[in-house]
């Protein structure tokens, strides 16, 4: 940790202009010969490294009181369920945690809030977790962010887990920030790569600033370290011979909430692209109904579902359930065909699990080619109709 200091005596107008241009976050203000850093600063330190020498300086703070990391142990996975079934992202996280825990020779545990734990504990143990901590109460059967946070606080205070991982689901993304704020600890959303340091610091990698950059984030001075990870980012682990045990946590506090669940309505089952085996995904060049019809025809011929990128959602062509990417769905199909998609990390992070990826784009330098197995540099509106013709022919249509 530290801060930036502007050495005003060294600031010239040219320096100021250069720094203003250099800063990706618009964090410099130059007024009356004084160069100031404003609240936009993200401390990326580009101004120190690449700016005029000596003008902006990074001043290291004295070490903040270090926490005793050895007092915080193990990786705990929040088990998400709907009262009957566990969300598979929980098992994916258990699998990843086991890899991470090898570095520190630590335990992998699970935490479960529910009405009847016997429905779930055997399945959780079959993935090889060491301990399943259970808070059992009829009022915990359905997610209530206030009750769940109170239980998690109780668990963290008693057991001091080093890491807690949550699925990046609608529930996980509402619950985890609440716990993070209560403990004033770090939480990294939608991690795509997790690594562990020997000193038990979790390295949390995620796409940053919505663009083509990944950031490695650590949380070195607080515990627990927390992260959310989207479904299908990590692989489903194999079941093993169980060796763990169930720890029943008594609830010696009142379960309070200012929220009341009034009704749960079943929704007509939507076709969810995250489960699809074949996907045809379309990007910005698809502007008219006609364009989309072409893509749909290819998808139909392949028995595929049609998926889209964020700009098409914003243009109102489809709803977010059809969107691939971190702000939409993470997919892992056997075949993915990208049509006219440039490949911002926001998108590619949501499709890295695809087995075979074809991409067509006119721009040879488009980052989508870096995550494809087969790339075609060309115009989708010329290539796809011919491809459709060939497929029809082989199908005898």
């Amino acid at each position: 940790m530290g801060r930036l200091k502007v050495n005003q005596d060294k600031v010239t107008k040219e320096h100021a202009e250069k720094l203003i241009k250099l800063c990706p976050f618009n964090a410099f203000d130059y007024e009356d010969g004084k160069l100031e850093i404003n609240a936009g600063c993200k401390l990326c330190k580009i101004c120190v490294r690449k700016g005029p020498e000596g003008v902006v300086e990074f001043i290291e703070d004295e070490l903040v009181e270090a926490i005793d990391k050895s007092a915080w142990k193990g990786i705990t996975v929040f088990i998400e369920h709907d009262g009957n079934n566990i969300h598979p992202v929980s098992f994916e996280l258990i699998g990843k945690s086991q890899e991470l825990a090898k570095v520190t020779n630590d335990k992998v545990n699970a935490i479960l809030f529910c009405e009847d734990a016997s429905k779930f504990t055997d399945e959780i143990l079959s993935y090889g977790v060491d301990e399943v901590y259970v808070y059992e109460h009829k009022e915990l059967n359905h997610f209530d962010v206030q009750k769940y946070t109170d239980c998690m606080e109780d668990y963290i205070t008693k057991y001091k887990p080093s890491v807690i991982l949550y699925g990046g689901t609608l529930i996980g993304r509402s619950f985890a920030p609440r716990v993070a704020a209560r403990f004033k600890t770090g939480l990294t959303a939608d991690c795509t790569i997790l690594d562990m340091k020997e000193n038990s610091d979790l390295i949390q990698n995620r796409p940053a600033f919505g663009g083509n950059v990944m950031a490695s984030i650590v949380c070195p001075n607080t515990r627990p370290q927390m992260a959310t990870v989207r479904y299908k980012i990590f692989k489903m682990p194999e079941k093993v011979k169980p060796h763990g045990k169930v720890v029943n946590m008594g609830i010696d506090f009142e379960l309070k909430s200012k929220l009341k669940l009034i009704e749960i309505k079943e929704r007509p089952k939507e076709i969810d692209i995250s489960e699809a085996e074949t996907l045809v995904a379309i990007g910005r060049p698809f502007k008219t109904e006609e364009d989309i019809k072409m893509a749909q025809e290819l998808a139909d011929l392949l028995g595929a579902q049609l998926a889209v990128t964020r700009p098409l959602i914003e243009a109102g062509f489809a709803d977010a359930t059809k969107q691939i990417g971190l702000s939409g769905r993470t997919v892992a199909p056997k075949l993915l065909i990208n049509l006219g998609i440039s490949g911002a990390v926001q998108y590619t992070a949501g499709m890295l699990g695809a087995e075979v990826v074809f991409s067509i784009n006119t721009d040879k330098k488009a980052p989508i080619f870096d995550v494809s197995h087969y790339g075609l540099v060309g115009d989708v509106f010329k290539i796809v109709p011919k491809l459709i013709e060939s497929i029809k022919k082989v199908k005898g249509m």
């Binding site: 940790m1 990706p24 964090a27 404003n38 609240a39 936009g40 401390l43 990326c44 580009i46 962010v145 689901t169 609608l170 993304r173 509402s174 920030p177 609440r178 993070a180 600890t185 770090g186 939480l187 959303a189 940053a208 600033f209 919505g210 663009g211 083509n212 950059v213 490695s216 650590v218 949380c219 001075n221 607080t222 200012k258 929220l259 009341k260 669940l261 749960i264 309505k265 079943e266 929704r267 709803d319 971190l326 075949l335 911002a344 926001q346 590619t348 075979v356 067509i360 980052p367 080619f369 197995h373 087969y374 790339g375 075609l376 540099v377 010329k382 290539i383 491809l387 060939s390 082989v394």
Partner: protein
């Protein structure tokens, strides 16, 4: 009813690239704009105001240039705007950002309802709303996509989960984050932009905050640290085709892989 809406100025383009040689961030254009998801938060507040009467205060943390998005909120129909700006707030992660906003909201005195957009397009975490609620000790519901009823002491809302729709009642004071599409946001009004031509937004700095511990704000108050930035990994085992007969090449490859 007293409503607070939290908004943010974000870069106009989300395309940031990293120079693989120098490791520098390259951000094209500096056309900052209001986070598009915040427009839905403001619109939700305006609809509630139209229905039951309310004052709407917008609040933002950011550099002085963020005043432009606060102005936009006023032109849309909000009543007051507050900017939290100080160098000491810079470098803030989610915990420090939400804490600063919570401190700022406390300075606005009472409120019944805080409305946030579901996430920002630059950070994309969707965490700031729930963390503000926790700092203020109030309940929250994320991803609200319908306001069903506005009652005396509570709100009835619906959220769409993976397989179900859930109807919740949430007691005031509370915070909700709203989905895109809850309402169609209105455009700023030209008349209001003239009415507010001389309006000065309320500016709050570190000195105005109740909590005077610098360690709770900005970089110092941020438990997470960015260790490094790097370009995403590339698939080196790939075939790239250019030129003629691309459809045929793709078709043949798909047949070879038994994908047809």
């Amino acid at each position: 009813m007293k409503i607070v809406s939290c908004i943010k100025q974000v870069p106009g383009s989300s395309e940031v690239e990293i120079d693989p040689v120098t490791g520098n961030l390259i951000r094209d254009g500096k056309n900052a704009k209001m986070n598009p998801y915040d427009l839905y938060a403001i619109e939700t507040a305006l609809r509630i105001k139209e229905k039951v009467g309310a004052t709407i205060k917008t609040i933002s943390m950011g550099p002085p240039s963020a005043l432009s998005v606060l102005n936009e909120s006023l032109w849309m129909g909000c009543d007051e705007a507050t900017l939290l700006t100080d160098r000491k707030f810079g470098g803030a992660d989610v915990v420090a950002t939400s804490y600063t906003l919570a401190q700022g909201i406390e300075k606005l005195k009472d409120f019944d309802l805080i409305i946030c957009g579901k996430q920002t397009t630059d950070g994309d975490t969707a965490q700031v709303g729930p963390e503000i609620a926790e700092h203020l000790g109030i309940p929250h519901i994320s991803y609200v996509d319908k306001i069903i009823e506005i009652k005396e002491n509570s709100l009835i809302v619906s959220t769409t989960m993976d397989k179900t729709e859930e109807i919740w009642e949430i007691e005031f004071p509370c915070l909700i984050t709203v989905e895109k599409g809850i309402f169609t946001p209105r455009l700023p009004s030209y008349k209001r932009s003239r009415d507010f031509a001389d309006y000065k937004a309320n500016i709050l700095t570190f000195k105005d905050m109740e909590d005077q511990d610098e360690g709770h704000y900005g970089l110092k108050g941020s438990p997470t640290q960015v260790e490094k930035m790097f370009p995403p990994s590339k698939n080196t085992d790939k075939e790239i085709w250019e030129g003629q007969d691309l459809a045929e090449i793709m078709f043949n490859k798909m047949q070879e892989l038994k994908l047809l």
